[in-house]
Every structure is written in C-alpha cells, then in structure tokens.
Symmetry: C2
Subunit: 374 residues, 2 copies
C-alpha cells in the first residue's frame, strides 16, 4: 500500500509521471484534485467528476467536523460511502481553516482553540484530535496538523517550525489506521533555508508523502516558484509531493516543472460560481455585456459538455439570472480545463517534451520575474 | 404536422395513450413537462432531462421576454438551440404571469399593461404581442393569450370569458408560423356551464389542441376533478388536452383518468429546492432531524440516480448546508418520480388496467370528497 512508482521523468525539468497506490485505486500523477469542502464538489455529482476524469477529491476536516460531524460520517460507513465517491480522497488537517479564523482562535504549543464560524461554539483541535477526526472520515491520504504562518515573516516562520514539527511527530504517534497515508507538511515560508530545515526534519519521519504548505497565501508567483525550486532537489524522489491549495493553471504547470505531483484548489469551482471560465492565458467573465449575443462557446477547441453544447450568450443568461445550471456548466468547464491540462502534461512527460509544452502554455500568461524563470 | 394519434384507450376511464407529432419529435402522451422558466429546468442539464426520460419542456414567455429578450433568442437560433434542448418545447402565453402581478398590472379589453418584477419598467402584452414573442422563441406548442380569473367568482368568470375568447381569435389571426401548434385555453372557473361554453367556443376555432386553464389556483381538489369530469365528454377526442400548471402526483393521476394528456408544473423542481422529495402518498422533507443518521435512500424501490447512490443522511447534510448538489439530487428524484408515474400509467392504459393502477396509487393519498370520486 502507498507505493509510489515513477513511470517517466522529463529529461529537462523536474516533471515526472507516477502511480500512487491507495486503498481506493491507483492515482496517476501529476493529478489535480477538485475540492469538495462539505463532502461535495460544489455543483457536480460524483458521476460527473468521474466522467470528467477526476481521480482524487479533497475534503475539509474543519467543515465536516462541524457539519455533519465526523462521528456521524464514520457511523454511516466513512466519507467515501457518505458522499458516493469510490476513488481516492484526501482530507486536510483542519489547521489551515482554523488559522484562517484569525479573530476567533488562539494558538498554543498544544493546539488551537477556536470558535465555529457557524454558531460561535468553542472547539479545540490538537494534532491528536485532527488525526482522530481524519480517521473517522477515512480518507486515503490524511494530513499532519501544522501551523501555516505568514510566509514572509522570517522570525515568526522560524519559530512556528518548531511547533509544526512537534505536531507532525504527535500526528505520527496518534495515527492508528494502516489504510491511510499520513503526509507531512513542509513549512518555512519563502525562505529556502527554513524550507530545507523543515523538509529534512519531516524526511527523518519517513512518511509516505510530503506536502508543501504555506504557499499561494500572499507571496508573489516568483517567490512561490523559487521556493519550489529550492525544495525540488531536497525532497525524496520516491515519494509523492503535494502542493497544497494551488490550482491556478500557470502555477500547476510551474509546479509540475518543479517536481510536484499533487495539486488541489477551490479556484476552478469558486470562480465558476462567480461567472468566470478558465481559458488559455487567463479567464473570461460571462457577466460581461460583450457576450450577450455571442453564439460561440467559451472555447471552440474545448471538448467539455459545456463547450460542445452551449453558447457564451446562453451561459451569460444563466449567470445573469443566477440559475443553478450556470454554476453546473461553468464548474464543468473549469474542472475539465485543469484535468485536461494535467492529462496533457502527463502525455508531454511521456514524450520527454514537458518544457516545450510548458513554454507554449505559459507564453499565454504574463511573465514572472526572471529569478523564477526556468 | 401536429397529428394526434390514439394508440390505446382505457375501457373504464377517460385514460388514453397518444402520440402527438411535433417538429421536434413525437410526444408520447400522457406526458409530464418539467418547467424551465428561464430557459433551464432549474438544477438539471438537458442531458440529465433526456436521461430521465423527459420529452417535453415548458418555458415561460413572460420571463424570457424580459431576460434575455425574445429577439435575442430568435437571433441565436430560437429557444431549442439557445437552451440546448432538441425535443419539443411548450411556451405559455405570459398571461398567467402578468395577471399574477396583481398590484402592478392593468387589464383592458385590448391587453394588459404591467410593470416588470425585475426593474419596474412598463410593458404591454396583447394577444398579438404574445404570439409575436412566442414566434420569436419558436416553441413547438404555443398558447393563446387568455385571462385567468379567480375560479369561484361566477360573474367575473362569465364576464372574462368574452375577453378570453376574443383574444383567442386574435391569437389565431396573429399567428404566422406553420411549425407551431397554437392551443386554445378553456376557462370558466369551477362552473360546468361556463366551462362547456368556453370549450364549445374554442372548438369552433378548430385548434390543434386544447388546454384547461385556471385550475390549481385555490379551488379544492374535488372542484378541480369535477371540472375535469365536466369537460371530458365535451372536448374532442382527437386533440391533445393539456391541464395547465398541475403536477401534484395525485392530480396527475386524476387528470389522466379524466382524459388529460399533457401536464406541467413547477412542483417537483420547486419543492426539491426546499429540501422535499416526492414519495408515494406525499413527500418527505430532508431537513427533518429524524433523517440525520438515516442510511436508507429516499425510496428503496426508486431507480433514480439519487436513490441508487445516496442516503437520506447525506441528502439532509446537503440540504442543511445549502449545497447545490442537494438541489440537483432532489430535483432529479422528483422529476423521475413524475416521469415514472406517467410511464406506469401509459403501461396501465396499454393493459386496460388504469383504474386498478390509479386506485392503488391514490389509496396512499388522503381521500377527496365523494362528488369528485370516480
């Protein structure tokens, strides 16, 4: 269980194609995981996700702990059965969410006390509690409880590493299930020395996979890519690497170039509900009046259900009238966009042509500062 | 075009199986039409409707006239192409909707002036305008512009028949497209003599189909069924009959027993968005705390996607967290419930056993007063 086999490596970048074995099937990597915060990827059925080619779904420990409760999900057969998704699932630790409740949480060295965003009730997460909840949920991949500090404050980041590392060890000790892979989370902000320190500490724990946390939280793209550049030669080649919360298409491409295997992000589903569709080079917003009589699909070359059946004019009508079908169709397109992107990258890695594919794809996006270029 | 062939008649009731020929295919009747008010059946894709076995979709002239505009839809190829539905479509006349704007509309003998519910802007519908809009939309079945009076006020209903009949004639004269069937609407409230007068007037116009309007607007079920009893022997056997806005399962069964061929109603889609699921004998609301840990589906015998994949506990979670998937899954179940009901009635008519089927089905519902019984 939790073997990670490398099928192909790109000769000119960190890109690699792998297969990660989980109790609910083999994940082909690189993989993008749509986010199902509350045990549902918003606006899609499990069958829709399957038809789109999704293989891994992320769900949020904090939200499910509060509603409907992790013990209820356990009693109903676990998260896979509860939400009708038979493929691999990843749960986060709840840490990122409770730290985001900046006004209503208190961190100490043992854990975090916080107030529910739903009813203000008081709760406490510790590493042990996070693992207990994630064991009740029963995902294939579970995450260590960590602190996600502001990425550009060196002193704070350095201090918080002690906590994150101590908590990682407590998570390893608290874990009882053999059918879940516990990933450690490398922190260290945008500082290469701290990232290396964090990676080396966690590598000593010999975990089945390593996540890169604390990015895409306010730093520049150049800083994000530089951090990935620093970690790429350090992290073990024979373990999957998961870049948490990153899903902008250009970041996914840059992540794969730098050896990342797993991505998740609310971006494609969230912007869909705001009326935006991903296109090569950025996004278009269907609320824009210029689409009012536009009979073309979002993207003529796209093979998704939305683009093969509906005009921008119709999608604009659905968005303007706040129809549920607008959310469904834009979510479908955006998830397809990211899943198709990683499929194309896997094919490019198989051909040994990832850098050419990436250069072409990224040529449609604004350039980042030189130190982060390939 | 617009032939109506009777394939089977039930020996002990008014039930009949027919085929109505339209430019977008042959409608098998009895048929239930889901309502797509704004050119979308809320929460379902056209492919979902097709997979559920839906054949006819209703859309609302008033709403589409205001947003996105009937001329825009015409310029984009008509409603079928706009919404991606290649089967038959029926549009109402807009009359019912503008009369429902009770505070902001003014009726005269020529038409109705009203204010948009969206922005308060002033508009006017006449029989000619309603037909022009419906010709722009391009549905297969279009409706005459009528007045829908309070059904129990004899004097008002009698007076308004003059207007409804004059307007029906003006609709016939205004109509220019050969590929649309214009149905007349029989009014007359709950009064058999007025219903007969209205039916005979419209029958003189020799229209391709007849609707029964002004029911399910506050009268009792007994009064509704009595009205259908009165019309059943009068309306021509060789034309389809459409009971407007009726979709409670027990009313659909009672309608088919009394010779009705076509039904539409927002009920299955609207109650779904409120968390309710149709079951034999009534409905259950998934918000109810008793479903919190219920691992059973809505209905163990139901073959829909929702019932074959998800527990009441999961549906309750989706409804309580206001997740879009809750709307999708409950809408799927409720539409399946009504489409399966009419499929079963068609099979029962084929076997000549509609009354036995209906007696069994209706035994799960509260009895209606004797004068409306079979």
């Amino acid at each position: 269980m939790f073997e990670f086999e490398i099928d192909a490596t790109d000769p000119n970048s960190g890109g690699r194609n792998g297969r990660f074995h989980t109790p609910h099937g083999i994940l082909q990597t690189p993989v993008f995981a749509p986010v199902g915060t509350q045990a549902t990827v918003k606006a899609l059925r499990p069958s829709d996700l399957h038809n789109l080619g999704a293989t891994l779904v992320l769900s949020n420990t904090y939200h499910l702990y509060l509603r409907p409760g992790d013990e209820l999900i356990r009693d109903l057969g676990g998260l896979h059965q509860f939400m009708g998704w038979n493929g691999p699932i990843l749960t986060d630790s709840g840490g990122f969410q409770v730290f985001s409740l900046s006004d209503t949480r208190k961190i100490d060295d043992d854990g975090v006390t916080f107030k529910s965003h739903l009813d203000g009730s008081k709760h406490r997460f510790t590493p042990e509690k996070s693992i207990a909840i994630q064991e009740n949920l029963g995902a294939d991949i579970i995450m260590a409880f960590d602190e996600c500090p502001p990425p550009t404050d060196y002193d704070y980041v350095q201090q918080s590493l002690i906590r994150t590392h101590t908590w990682a060890k407590r998570c390893v000790q608290a874990k009882t299930r053999e059918d879940q892979a516990l990933f450690g989370i490398v922190q260290g902000g945008i500082f290469p020395d701290l990232r290396e320190e964090s990676a080396r500490f966690l590598m000593d724990l010999d975990l089945p996979g390593y996540a890169i946390g604390g990015l895409a939280v306010g730093e520049s793209k150049a800083e994000m890519y530089k951090t990935l550049d620093a970690l790429n030669p350090i992290l073990p080649k024979n373990k999957p690497r998961y870049l948490m919360g990153v899903g902008a298409p250009e970041d996914v491409v840059n992540g794969v170039l730098r050896g990342v295997d797993i991505f998740d992000c609310v971006l494609p589903t969230r912007i869909a509900r705001n009326g935006a569709a991903l296109v090569k080079g950025g996004r278009i917003n269907l609320r824009n009046a210029k689409f009012q009589r536009d009979s073309a699909p979002i993207d003529k070359t796209c093979t998704c259900y939305t683009c093969t059946h509906f005009s921008r004019a119709y999608l604009r009508h659905l968005v303007k009238t706040n129809e549920i079908l607008g959310h469904i169709l834009l979510t479908t397109h955006n998830i397809h966009f990211l899943l198709e992107l990683v499929r194309q990258m896997r094919a490019a890695i198989d051909r040994g042509e990832l850098t050419a594919f990436a250069a072409d794809f990224l040529s449609h996006y604004p350039p980042v500062s030189p130190q982060a270029a390939l």
